[in-house]
Symmetry: C2
Subunit: 414 residues, 2 copies
């Protein structure tokens, strides 16, 4: 069961917008048993759109999902081109018009000509109402292929997919089941991990495949299994997952879409522990990762982003003499920060980062990319040093991941 | 001058990885005068790769950039398939082998069979050395089209692009100049902005186009100009940019890739003001945005992420009676937090957020998505209320953007 994704928009091709839509759609379609064979991005241009549609049609997939080009502004021409491809014409749709009117009233915006044009739809399509925005989705069928066109605004596309497209295509198609299982690891580079898992991979059953997906030190191991039924494939994937836990127990922090912050949050909840942070180089990003998990207020008290040295001494109580002798990026300052956070916020655990995110500010002794991390608890304080890259944003991410991993291992080994 | 981008990897199609590479490449190529006509993503599969290469070749672009499928693990088959397409064979490359050995020594990792395979390259290609990783780039030419294959790891791809590909293609091609100018706005929804700018758009010269690129309330207005030379197009784009400043002065916070945090940082620097934060619902994300700007320590002292009410009263000095009567999400608590941050961190300005990020925790009076923002300075404290969506991560972003915009307008109007 094949599917293709076509995303339309100059901004995607010139790189002003990152195409997160097709990632989301790809995930949903493959979870629904589709093999997403191709993703194509093209200009907001009649010929390009017609070519991409014809080429996709020739490969005879069961499904083509199209996003973009349905906004209210005049750079959008998809709807007219779809009429041409499906040999139909635009007609006003009363239901869509009412929906747009209602939405504009709620937000207190007046209706304008742009909004009125959004209520026109190709005559031959089935309209997929869009409660999240003003442009509806459209369902076409031609020579055995379903074509679905949706707006490019992520919230609107997701609404139409979840409310209409996914339920309808699941009803229509019953097929081979493809399941993906992710095992999330941290702490070992890809080439070395591949060496450790060489025999594991060689021994995998024929219908299970392994892939490595690295990102800032987190390596997602993806097992993909294919079978006639879920009952057939799930135990096989389960057995391989258990095998991985035996080979690399300390490296695995979670499964599927679990993030390090979710893993840490779950551990804190289970062990009924509270956490606070003192952040220098991570500048609030660590707190953001922790609080991006819904329900984090249960175990997270707060963070002191101590960007200046005055804040480190004044609010966190770091001894100015240590700051002067060891420097801000040092084991003793990291330890003092973690202890200071624990006291200030009155929590069981304190986690701290102090380092040089870059791009400048490094020295021979303390290069850009160096970080000291500390975890403080009633059983004492431990610190750890890492050296990463020279890219500021990458370093902020890597520092935060290293900090969460140290915290995770400390909680587990308590 | 046409270009295409082909990205290879199952993870891109099933949506486990978001394709940031092609956005980056698209931006660089279009800045170099290329019209990026198509972006295609395909599986790590011999037939799919051969088809995509042949189809791209048939459209006769001057340039095809290929990323992915060159990693050390066995799910990667691009190199073998490139040999087939270009009718050549893999041979060991001494220079690449030495580079890999050197890199592994520095990181203290042993050389393994996977690394050794990475030192093999197709005989007919020009090797593009990769100092950022182990897999080199490869430059092929066939029937007037240049094909360049690079690893999919973003840091490595960027290194090879910047060191080899971009300088070489700029030397080879001299062409029409395409320039993009972004005007960054905040505070007006797309359909209404389009109405305000309708006449502006109608009066644009023929070789300048306008596009709207919205993201969480930030709308990027993109002017794209085409001409024979830079000298011809730059004044035209400049004149249209000035016109925009006259029509929507308060909405514009920056140009090109300037983010709200860069705009705020620049204003703080120019006016020699210091800033601190007290964050509840934004949970450190606002501090992260501010500190993601290199050099932010010059004006940013720190943030108190006050996730629990105890922290709001204990550390920020919010009156518990106000917290009890008005609730944490209220104008007076937001004001108290901004004032508390200003005192705690001893800064000129204090910025605070308190709201309900969701997905749960809302009420009829205070729905999910509601936020109070406050800015405190020596001239007093002002507060502002917004109601956004029900999505936690979207809300955290929108709250932070609204807070930065209020701060920006306060600094400008000081």
């Amino acid at each position: 069961m094949k599917a293709e994704i076509i995303t339309i928009g100059d901004e995607l091709l010139i790189g002003q917008t990152i195409d997160t839509n097709s990632a989301w759609i790809g995930w949903e379609l493959s979870s629904a048993g589709f093999d997403v064979r191709r993703r194509t991005s093209i200009h907001d241009n009649r010929d390009e759109i017609l070519n991409a549609l014809s080429e996709a049609a020739e490969r005879k997939p069961e499904l083509v999902i199209i996003t973009g080009g349905l906004g209210p502004t005049s750079d959008d021409i998809t709807k007219q081109t779809l009429c041409e491809f499906f040999n139909t014409k635009l007609v006003p749709d009363r239901e869509v018009l009412e929906m747009i009117e209602k939405m504009l009233r709620r937000r207190n915006f007046p209706m304008n000509e742009n909004n009125r044009r959004q209520a026109e739809v190709p005559e031959s399509c089935r309209v997929l109402p869009n409660a999240a925005g003003t442009a509806p989705g459209m369902w076409f069928e031609k020579d055995g292929t379903i074509f679905i066109s949706m707006p490019g605004v992520p919230g609107e596309m997701k609404y139409i997919m979840q409310e209409h497209v996914l339920p309808d295509i699941k009803k229509r198609f019953r097929s081979q089941v493809i399941i993906h299982k992710n095992i999330m690891t941290y702490g070992m580079p890809e080439a070395r991990l591949a060496e450790i898992l060489e025999q594991f991979e060689a021994e995998l059953p024929e219908n299970i495949k392994l892939a490595y997906l690295p990102s800032f030190g987190v390596i997602k191991l993806r097992l993909t299994g294919t079978a006639g039924t879920l009952n057939e494939i799930e135990p096989l994937i389960g057995a391989q997952t258990s095998k991985l836990y035996n080979i690399i127990p300390d490296l695995i922090f979670g499964e599927d879409e679990q993030t390090p912050e979710m893993a840490v949050g779950q551990l804190l909840k289970i062990k009924k522990l509270t956490l606070s942070l003192a952040e220098s180089c991570t500048g609030g990003f660590l707190a953001h990762r922790i609080t991006s998990v819904a329900g984090s207020s249960e175990y997270f008290a707060g963070s002191l982003v101590a960007y200046s040295n005055n804040v480190k001494t004044g609010i966190l109580g770091i001894d100015p003499a240590i700051l002067a002798s060891d420097g801000a990026v040092s084991s003793r300052v990291a330890a003092g920060m973690a202890e200071g956070a624990r006291k200030l916020f009155k929590t069981d655990l304190g986690l701290a980062t102090t380092g040089i995110a870059g791009p400048s500010g490094g020295s021979a002794d303390k290069p850009v990319g160096m970080v000291w991390i500390a975890v403080s608890s009633d059983s004492g304080t431990i610190t750890e040093k890492h050296i990463f890259s020279t890219d500021r944003i990458a370093n902020i991410t890597r520092f935060s991941l290293a900090a969460m991993n140290l915290l995770r291992l400390q909680i587990i080994n308590r």
